[in-house]
């Protein structure tokens, strides 16, 4: 596993200039995610209306992998139904854990598919899945 498989153009771009890293006015829910071992810390904000994630954004600090992963996730889930967004989160986590490897099945992760290489780097798995776990938790709360 070479560095270029992890720090791809796409990951570098998203981590240097995360489009969705800002506070979200009118958010209906806000949840913190935290990796105590490395200090990655994000707050994910969602605006959910009629079962649809109308908008999302995040704030916080973290490594390139966690920041890029979060930014790509927000890109992906905007406009999706909540159950669809949760299914994507679970699919992404499955990919990073190495449980889902079928390219066709992973296709709808879109840009986030570029993080698949992290599944071979146990030390960085937590960085990649932080935002997606946080999303899953947030939407679970919404569903209640």
């Amino acid at each position: 596993m070479g560095l270029e498989d992890i720090y791809t153009e796409l990951v570098s771009e998203h981590s240097r200039n995360p489009e969705h890293r800002h506070a979200l006015p009118g958010a209906t829910c806000s949840l913190k995610g935290h990796n105590p071992s490395c200090g990655d810390e994000i707050t994910l904000q969602l605006k959910v209306k009629d079962g649809v994630v109308e908008d999302a954004a995040f704030t916080g600090v973290g490594c390139a992998i966690s920041q890029a992963s979060t930014d790509m996730m927000v890109d992906l889930i905007r406009g999706k139904r909540t159950e669809e967004a949760r299914a994507l989160a679970q699919k992404f986590i499955g990919m990073i854990k190495g449980e889902i490897t079928d390219e066709a099945e992973l296709e709808d992760l879109d840009e986030a598919l570029s993080l698949q290489g992290v599944s071979h780097m146990p030390a960085r798995v937590k960085c990649a899945v932080l935002a997606w776990h946080t999303l899953d938790e947030a939407l679970k709360e919404q569903g209640k």
Binding site: S12, G39, A123
Partner: protein
């Protein structure tokens, strides 16, 4: 330095590869590698004399007991304790510190008392005192830092008062790598009648330590799972037991128990005899070399690395501008715009192992206004070549993430 090359041959792991490259192991603040002599001592114990000490009246158990008690004597001599009973074996420094917090802290502190610690403590010498403060109503106060990262002399003078019952301080900061004047702090603590707890995790392997110290063995060539608490006999003797169970008792009846004398009182259950055998071998190894040589190797590496790091405009250094002669072989740093975890991954791809994160010192990072940092920490087997590889890899970091140099 020629010395390091001479020692390198004793460390089998440093001759293996990581990611297809030889290892430049620069995470000695976390744990050191183990020399052949220590590995052989552990294998020798399990392969030839393993039995539960202090129990069986048969030859093997007697031998295991001898190995274990010999480690205690050697440790006592190594750090200058008056008697072997002042040495309590623990699983690590964290357990040693918890032992004091639970046994001494919870018993002797009360509302109105104060505990004074420093902002540069490892969580293991911070969280237990928070617990004691919460449980007893005592106040927890902090000694903060000067601009150069050293403990504030003013805080030492003003925060330790007649209300202070316990002062806890590390001998060397595991992030900033600065030696604290623990003699002065202990003297100040004793002058107001407080006890002083010193965390020796980052010092005892690197410099000659003169007791009143706590120490974990795996950071000094010895295996993980064995640590040492040193305490003055009278203090330890007056403290209640920490963990209860086998081996720490005198008489057990249905409703009550009397406890064993020191050191058994604080060593409940089956102990880590293999670890003690390894610790003895580590003490032999370090004694054979001498701390003058070890300190000289580390100083050479720091003096070699720092000017080169200062040349790099994208490197921020922490604790490297001390005005006192107290810098040890630990260098904390960050690469501008890049999270420490990414730095460590990129260095790892070239076989250079450094630590990234908060190094179990979140309050210190917060105090310094940092989220996290990287840390390189040297030991006697590190060479200038390791430093060269580290610095060469640092020059690549920003490029990998698409930043201009």
């Amino acid at each position: 330095m020629a010395d390091a090359q001479e020692f390198l041959k004793d460390f089998p792991l440093l001759h293996t590869e990581m990611n297809g490259r030889p290892i430049a192991y620069l995470d000695n603040g976390a744990t050191t590698q183990k020399p052949e002599q220590v590995i052989k001592a552990i294998c020798g114990y399990y392969g030839g004399c393993n039995a539960n000490p202090h129990r069986g009246a048969y030859a093997l158990s007697v031998e295991a007991t001898e190995i274990y008690e010999n480690a205690r004597k050697r440790t006592a001599a190594f750090i200058g304790a008056k008697r072997p009973e002042e040495i309590i074996f623990t699983k690590n420094a964290t357990e040693a510190l918890n032992l004091i917090a639970y046994s001494y802290g919870l018993t002797n502190l009360k509302q109105g008392d104060e505990i004074v610690i420093t902002i540069a403590e490892h969580h293991s010498n911070l969280v237990p005192w928070q617990h004691v403060a919460h449980a007893t109503g005592a106040a927890l106060k902090y000694i903060y830092l000067e601009q150069d990262g050293n403990l504030s002399d003013e805080d030492i003078e003003t925060k330790i008062t007649e209300r202070t019952k316990l002062v806890a301080c590390t001998q060397v900061s595991n992030v900033l790598g600065l030696k604290n004047d623990v003699k002065k702090i202990a003297a100040k603590a004793h002058s107001v009648g407080a006890v002083c707890v010193v965390d020796g995790s980052q010092s005892v392997a690197h410099q000659k330590v003169d007791v009143r110290d706590i120490d974990a063995g795996h950071k000094m060539l010895s295996p993980m799972g064995i640590g040492v608490l040193y305490g003055k006999y009278d203090l330890l003797d007056a403290m209640p037991p920490f963990l209860m169970g086998g081996d720490m008792i005198e008489y057990v009846e249905e409703q009550q128990t009397t406890f064993a004398e020191l050191p058994a009182k604080f060593e409940a259950g089956t102990q880590n005899v293999g670890g003690a055998a390894g610790l003895t071998a580590a003490i032999d190894y370090l004694t054979g070399i001498g701390f003058d040589r070890i300190e000289a190797i580390e100083k050479d590496l720091v003096d070699y690395a720092l000017p080169q790091l200062r040349e790099l405009p994208f490197i921020e250094l922490y604790g490297c501008d001390t005005k006192r002669d107290n810098k040890t072989g630990i260098i904390a740093f960050n690469v501008k715009d890049v999270h420490p975890h990414d730095v460590a991954t990129i260095l790892d791809s070239t076989g250079v192992a450094v630590r990234a994160g908060h190094h179990c010192a979140q309050p210190l990072h917060k105090y310094l206004g940092l989220n996290a940092s990287c840390r390189a920490s040297f030991y006697l087997y590190n060479t200038r070549e390791d430093v060269d590889r580290w610095i060469a890899a640092l020059k690549k970091v920003r490029e990998v993430l698409g930043y201009g140099a």
